[in-house]
């Protein structure tokens, strides 16, 4: 099984193909709906003026995401009251909700990948080819198991977004994922969708 440590190089990303299982290690960040919308509104589309705090957080996450990964995840975290954070349950959330923003966020930070579930569509696939980056699929619902690969919670940004929506900076070891969208235009999701559509068409004729 292939092992990769963050930050990941373009060469390593280009070498990844749909179907490959990878164990990821290193520092990554969680980010889902609120984070993607925040990044878009304040730093990409610039429809809202970023606050001082927004700018500080943006500068803090830049080095983590350069060559790094965003994990679509809203974890269950213990120690929120004390600051002694620990991930209790941390499986992936459905990625497709970030489709409007993902390619732009990849480009903005030189992101090398996102981890999520359910796959993404054409805009993100194009982003994977251009940046380059890949889509890593984790096993949805395997939250207790995945939490065990989180060695340390380094810090959290924008906790006011709420525990599930905040940016948790985590150090992971051997996080198991499958490449389902690669940087060459390959997508397992397109393949399965087309195949199932063909079967559906036949069933509809019956």
């Amino acid at each position: 099984m292939k092992k990769l440590t963050l930050p990941i190089s373009d060469e390593d990303i280009r070498a990844l193909k749909v179907g490959e299982t990878v164990l990821l290690s290193g520092v990554m960040m969680t980010g889902r709906d609120a984070v993607h919308k925040w990044l878009n509104d304040a730093f990409i589309a610039k429809t809202v003026e970023p606050t001082e705090d927004d700018v500080t957080v943006f500068e803090a996450i830049k080095p983590i995401l350069d060559g790094g990964i965003i994990y679509h995840c809203g974890p269950v975290v213990s120690g929120v009251d004390t600051g002694d954070y620990k991930f209790v349950a941390a499986g992936p959330t459905t990625s497709i909700r970030e489709e409007p923003y993902q390619a732009l966020v990849m480009e903005l930070f030189n992101l090398k990948g996102v981890i999520g579930k359910g796959g993404m569509e054409a805009k993100t696939l194009q982003g994977c080819m251009d940046t380059p980056a890949v889509y890593f699929h984790a096993i949805g619902g395997a939250a207790s198991l995945i939490a065990q690969s989180v060695q340390d919670v380094i810090t959290v940004h924008k906790l006011d977004f709420g525990v599930p929506e905040a940016m948790w900076v985590i150090d992971v070891k051997d996080f198991p994922v499958v490449v389902t969208m690669d940087s060459h235009g390959g997508s397992q999701h397109v393949t399965v969708k087309e195949k199932s559509q063909k079967v559906l068409d036949e069933l509809m004729e019956k």
Partner: protein, 291 residues
């Protein structure tokens, strides 16, 4: 009435961390059915390991502990107001203990309440009165947002799909819903389907069907046959666990018919993820049991 807050907290803990035996058995069968070494089998292997781990560590099976949906059958004379208070308190306590993720956010601002408190509809509690000699039962289902988002409601006839106002039409729209869902609802899923009703009752009933056991026979022979047919045909689509491709796309299909007005023919599809978390507690006098 007695204070059941602690017992309800235990119901929540079990629901979130301990997958019911019928679901786990079905997942194990699916594992053996998938091809050795396939991504589908690998996904099921991870799923089963996670089920074991969550149970032994008493941690959530899935981090999305969903909308807590309570179904309460209370004997005549018991105060629903008091039961509701105890449920709400138990939910708050369960959140502190990390059996539940703080999942309740303001509709407009998105602000998280932090403890799963909410408005009148959160957590969702359904009350039904039963005879005074019957026990109090509280059922809990935790249904995550990913699978809730792939649910769908259709109105028959549907010209595009050539789906008429009959069970053949119902079959077509359900097939369509599952193909559209792909792996996004955390396949292999379980389908709860309601035919008829008004829009609201229809969605409600589609979820209630999910409270029955996997493989439970439908008392209506025609619906039972359609359930089996749908499970088989859906699994021909090859979507598979997580949408990786494979033989197991759904584990079971459950259908309920509801009386409807002649003008309306709704079909509501509630998709439940493989982390099919539902538990029941029964209170007979001082005795509390769980299944």
């Amino acid at each position: 009435m007695q204070d059941l807050t602690k017992e309800i907290l235990e119901l929540i803990r079990r629901t979130s961390t301990d997958l019911p035996a019928d679901v786990e058995a079905k997942l194990r069968t699916a594992y053996t059915d998938e091809e050795d070494g396939s991504a589908a089998q690998g996904a099921l292997d991870t799923i089963l390991k996670n089920v074991d781990l969550a149970r032994s560590n008493s941690t959530p099976i899935c981090q999305d502990t969903g909308t807590p949906l309570f179904y309460v059958h209370y004997p005549e004379g018991l105060s629903t107001r008091k039961i509701k208070k105890q449920i709400v308190d138990a939910v708050t306590e369960a959140t502190k203990l990390n059996y539940l993720r703080p999942n309740s956010v303001n509709a407009v601002t998105g602000a998280n309440t932090g403890d799963n408190s909410g408005d009148d509809h959160y957590p969702t509690i359904h009350f039904e009165e039963v005879d005074e000699n019957l026990p109090l039962t509280i059922e809990l289902m935790l249904k995550g947002g990913g699978c809730e988002n792939v649910g769908a409601q259709y109105k028959l006839p549907n010209v595009e799909m050539h789906a008429g106002r009959d069970l053949a039409g119902v079959r077509k729209v359900v097939l369509d819903a599952v193909q559209k869902a792909q792996g996004k609802g955390c396949a292999p899923g379980i389908l709860g389907i309601a035919v008829g009703g008004d829009r609201g009752a229809s969605y409600l009933a589609s979820k209630e069907t999910l409270l029955t056991k996997i493989g439970a026979e439908n008392p209506d022979a025609e619906l039972d046959a359609l359930e089996n047919q749908l499970t088989e045909e859906i699994n021909q689509m090859g979507i598979g666990p997580m949408g990786f491709g494979g033989k197991t796309t759904v584990l079971d299909t459950k259908i309920k018919g509801l009386h409807r007005v002649p003008a309306s023919y709704f079909v509501s599809v509630s998709y439940m993820c493989w982390a099919y978390r539902r538990r029941k507690m029964t209170v007979s006098g001082a005795e509390v049991s769980y299944d």
